[in-house]
Amino acid sequence: MNVFKLEFKANFKGLLLWLGILSLVLVLFMSLFPTMGSDAMKDLIQTKLDALPNDLKEAVGLTDVPDFTKILDYYSYIFQYIAVAGGIFAALLGAQALVKEESDGTIEYLYAQPVTRTRIITEKLLAAAAIYLSLNIGISIVSGILFVVLKPQGTELVTVMADFKQLLAGTMVGGFVFLCLGLLISVVLKSSRQATGAAVGLVFITYILGIFSKSFAEYAGWVKNLVYLSPLDYAMPFEVLHHGFYTGRMLTGFIIMAASVTLAFCLYRRKDLKT
């Protein structure tokens, strides 16, 4: 597991940075939660929400009117943006996994060591997955603490955590899809910079497609199928909370993961390394 160790270590600082920033965002937004319970705030939000056109509400994940006095309704609204950031992180992890060492030239060291290419790509994929998993574990811990501190009286922590687990699992499916697509990008593209651009672009473009699929579905039926092209929409936090998982979307996610990893492996095994 030497490649895994190298890769995990190389990404560890990045992990701490992302975790720090995302935790801060969570803490900041969640600290506003107690004010949501006040009647004045409820009225304010309801008025604002009613004023928004339906298309826009759908676009930002407010299809069913959320009850922001419920901690998870409020949390899931914020969490969808954390999920976008997590998606970018995952895509970057995948996208940098192989091409970064080629761009930096460090691959020459690695490739002089007794490891096969299959082993290199396997361990790098596992390391990227472990880093992404660690980010989610970190976020879970921070969220757990926030739930304990902020949950309104009468809300059971056990129920909150059970729902949170679902919500996190759904988001991670999207993240892993990006990670696997990122890995494919990493095999195909020639420089680390290109890969960064492609990874970030991938997340945003698919995210926009997802918004599109929800906003314009009523004008043309086929548009709603675009949701399958948006990994972040496979399990939107708010939807998971109120509708559970959609099998078709989940399945699509797993198929994309399997296909991109298989293709990445095949291409990498036959690739001329640029040094």
């Binding site: 030497n2 460090t106 002089a112 007794p114 096969t116």
Partner: protein, 293 residues
């Protein structure tokens, strides 16, 4: 068994230069030089040895194993010093060595410590902070610390001070005497002539000559003829014209030394000189495309 066997090895890089039908056999225990100007295909050949890249044709065998199928097994017993050392900048030298040892499943640090002392490695500095020469030293130690059976070095002396160059060759020769094969790619003829037992010349992707420095060869002579009436007699014997300008003709004579005086006199030159050619001259005779007649 050969340490390295290249058979009709070809690599095309689209329109860019690669290598063409390279055949080469390097025996175990040899100190083998691989000489060529920049861009001749030295690094391409090395990358093929290590399966960094895949051949367009032909095959590579290293220590009796296929370079593609058995690449991990080959690297278990082969050390590599890259031409340009770009290792993990955040890592310290001793962490890199530890990683190398872990990859090779070695725990005995005696050789590692010996090499670190010999090459005066600053183990606690980050690789990114090291100078070119110091990074090279780290790469050398990293390639040798697991006591490989074959060592491949791509321009190892660039960046090293003369003292360290001497240490390097001492270490390599010592390994060689214990049966290790050394494959040294270089454009420095003097170091190849001085240290290698054999050398292959590569030019524009093709092997154009192999020199065995251990053999007593037919002594070659470098003859300069000034204002010769005719160089035909020279060309009729075994000779290569290296250059021809301003009445001065430079010829590498490979014929019978006993006949040289007569051949020169038949050329009716105004003046002439005869020297023992340096490897450099022979090298240039290969590279400048001197025509063999």
């Amino acid at each position: 068994m050969n340490a390295i066997t290249l058979h009709e090895l070809t690599k095309n890089y689209g329109s860019a230069r690669g290598i063409k039908n390279v055949n080469l056999e390097i025996q175990k225990g040899e100190f083998f030089g691989f000489i060529g100007p920049n861009g001749a295909g030295k690094s391409t050949t090395i990358k093929l040895l290590f399966n960094f890249i895949f051949p367009s044709g032909g095959s590579v065998e290293v220590l009796g194993m296929d370079s593609i199928k058995d690449t991990a097994k080959i690297k278990q017993i082969t050390g590599y010093v890259p031409g340009e050392v770009r290792y993990y900048a955040d890592m310290k030298a001793d962490e890199l060595f530890k990683t190398t040892m872990a990859f090779h499943k070695k725990t005995d640090v005696e050789e590692l410590n010996r090499l670190c002392t010999l090459f005066e490695i600053e183990q606690n500095k980050r690789l990114g902070e090291l100078s070119l020469g110091n990074r090279k030293k780290v790469a050398i130690v990293s390639a040798l610390c697991f006591e490989p059976e074959l060592i491949v070095l791509d321009e190892p002396t660039s960046g090293l001070d003369p003292l360290m160059q001497r240490t390097l060759f001492e270490v390599l020769k010592e390994s060689c005497s214990r049966g290790t094969t050394v494959f040294l790619s270089s454009h420095n003829l003097t170091e190849v002539q001085e240290h290698c037992s054999k050398a292959a010349f590569i030019k524009e992707g093709e092997i154009i000559g192999i020199e065995d420095f251990t053999l007593q060869q037919q002594p070659e002579k470098l003859v300069a003829l000034f204002n010769a009436q005719s160089i035909e007699p020279m060309l009729n014997s075994e000779a290569t014209v290296l250059s021809e300008e301003n009445g001065k003709v430079l010829v590498l004579y490979k014929g019978d030394p006993a006949r040289l005086a007569q051949v020169i006199s038949e050329c009716h030159a105004l003046d002439f000189t005869v020297e023992k050619p340096s490897l450099e001259t022979r090298f240039l005779s290969y590279y400048k495309g001197g025509t063999e007649r």
